[in-house]
Symmetry: C2
Subunit: 343 residues, 2 copies
């Protein structure tokens, strides 16, 4: 069986973890690597990953790499918003290439007006070129959208859905702990929110809209609360950061899919050092009711790498266009040679 | 929007519950009903369901109903094994009609040699007639196959999967309590197993094979333990059945997907009066590990009715052939007009 040929587009934190995984995977070859970071352009991808050389040099010449290598799929991990990534996707699609991306907004672009416009253009471009584009990841992409949607599949009726993800930030990488403002005073935390150094979770609107469209609810509004601080009444600490009592341990955020003044869908996202339990939960008030919980919560980085890779066959097999997780056959682990899953 | 036109094929226990639900559903019309039970043939379906007449008479003339009504889909709920249902499906497909069925063996026919042969013929027939056939339900169809498969989607690797369904039979209908031998002495229980009056759960092999094929494991063997008794050291009772200490409270059964002498997939099914907790759980040893639990367990009859209905759009939208839950876009509740989900 011929290996599936992949170009890794984006060799940042997630891109490196993804590339490392792809290199160990049976039935996948990374044939090209793209990044704009001058510190790594021209270097061997294997070496940048701390492995043996693999003979693939990281390039910033996107057109050159894509036209020369003609991969089966591009695995894209650069940025979170379509205003940052639209041109990149347009370029990939114009080369007649399939693409799976961790761009959060791509997971369900029609959640916002701006995203809908990008989505329309990307869908046209994908169809014109006979290829498929998917945004996925652990969240958005799975825990707070695909999984709750699947769980509603055994419901005769659904009144509302409440989804929680609670993470103990002490178990995550240090940049993540800083991103959520752990260890800051309340004043520092609030200042960093004003300057957008702390932005909260990207994808809550996308997850809400994906669920609403899957279930068939026409929402009147999606409300996203501002990012909030988490102040505990006792000291907590990770290996890297001490959080004295009264200081900020992390962040929390809620978002709501509203109809007639009622929250049909609620997202409750909490990440802080010292969280008493790590879990993901889905509570569906309906017939029958569903109380589902995964404990500990699924590790974000590992989960994102896994699902991005595991969706490669579904993207290659799909009809052309911009697709979302609710449109494709369900995700699954890929323990066999990757070609085995491709029609 | 035009309502989706359904023929209900099978007006037994599940068929009645399903028909009752379909009649209340927005965007669905039951246009015909089929059963062979002389006690209800010729009667109005609504009346048999204890509702007002709906102008649909239950008929035993399958060819007549199907050729005259040309429904969008047939909802089929007659029996568990393909040797009992094959001719029914062949007839439905030959009329150029889509079909969704609760036939357990149809959920993944290739799990057995006999089933594979039926599957090949049904797939050909469906393709020849340009229609789609799906077997689904709560179990097999969701809890012990589709849901675990979806959960592996966030795993980089999977070592093994352990799936448990534990039900307190006291909460279920009386025929179910009798089916699992509640209230019998151990001798009576064992005698009824010998005479096949107690048969255990149908679908464990199908669920195991569906998971194995989705994940990409080539199993050497599927082992199904004999149905076992559940003898408690205290008295228990449902509203209908008393189970003195030392008598049988229900049944339990395990099945294993084996490779190289190791169980990669284990199904652990327990249904008895007095079970201390009702739950469905999926434990995946892998990277990352997944410990998922739904408590209380999803109600079997409600869940089967729901998912059978909720999959109608996916079946109508699918490419022709015999399909399984792992091949179609994921299930979801259908709270809008059913036509809205159909392409």
């Amino acid at each position: 069986m011929k290996n599936v040929r992949v170009v890794s587009y984006g060799i940042g934190v997630i891109g490196r973890r993804l590339a490392n995984y792809l290199l160990d995977k049976v039935g996948i070859d990374i044939v090209g690597a793209i990044d704009i970071n001058p510190a790594i352009v021209g270097k061997d991808l294997g070496e940048v990953l701390g492995r043996d050389k693999i003979g693939v040099l990281i390039s910033d010449d996107v057109d050159g790499v894509l036209s020369e290598l003609k991969p089966d799929i591009v695995c894209h991990t650069t940025m979170s918003y379509l205003r940052q990534t639209y041109d990149q996707f347009a370029q990939i699609l114009s080369h007649g290439l399939n693409c799976v991306s961790t761009c959060e907004e791509l997971s369900y672009p029609s959640a916002t007006k701006e995203g809908s416009e990008y989505a329309g253009r990307l869908d046209n471009l994908a169809k014109k070129n006979g290829v498929t584009l998917l945004g996925t990841g652990i969240n958005p992409g799975f825990l707070m959208d695909t999984l709750p949607i699947v769980l509603t599949g055994v419901c005769k009726s659904v009144e509302d859905i409440y989804i929680t993800r609670q993470m103990d930030a002490a178990t995550r990488r240090i940049p993540f702990q800083k991103k959520i403002g752990a260890g800051l005073s309340l004043e520092e935390f609030e200042a960093k929110i004003k300057t957008h150094e702390i932005t909260g979770h990207v994808g809550l609107e996308q997850s809400i809209q994906m669920i609403a469209d899957a279930v068939g609810w026409e929402l009147s509004e999606i409300k996203v609360d501002p990012v909030g601080s988490v102040i505990l009444d006792h000291d907590v600490a990770s290996d890297a950061i001490k959080v004295p009592k009264g200081y900020n341990a992390g962040s929390k955020q809620k978002a709501y899919g509203m109809k007639d003044g009622k929250a049909l869908i609620t997202m409750d996202f909490r990440a802080y050092i010292g969280a008493p339990e790590e879990f993901d939960s889905v509570t569906i008030h309906g017939e029958p009711p569903i109380n589902e919980r995964t404990s500990p919560c699924v590790h974000g980085d590992f989960g994102t790498i896994a699902i991005t890779t595991n969706m490669i066959p579904q993207v290659i097999n799909a009809s052309p266009g911009l697709v979302t997780m609710k449109d494709l056959p369900p995700p699954h682990a890929t323990m066999a040679h990757m070609r085995k899953y491709i029609k």
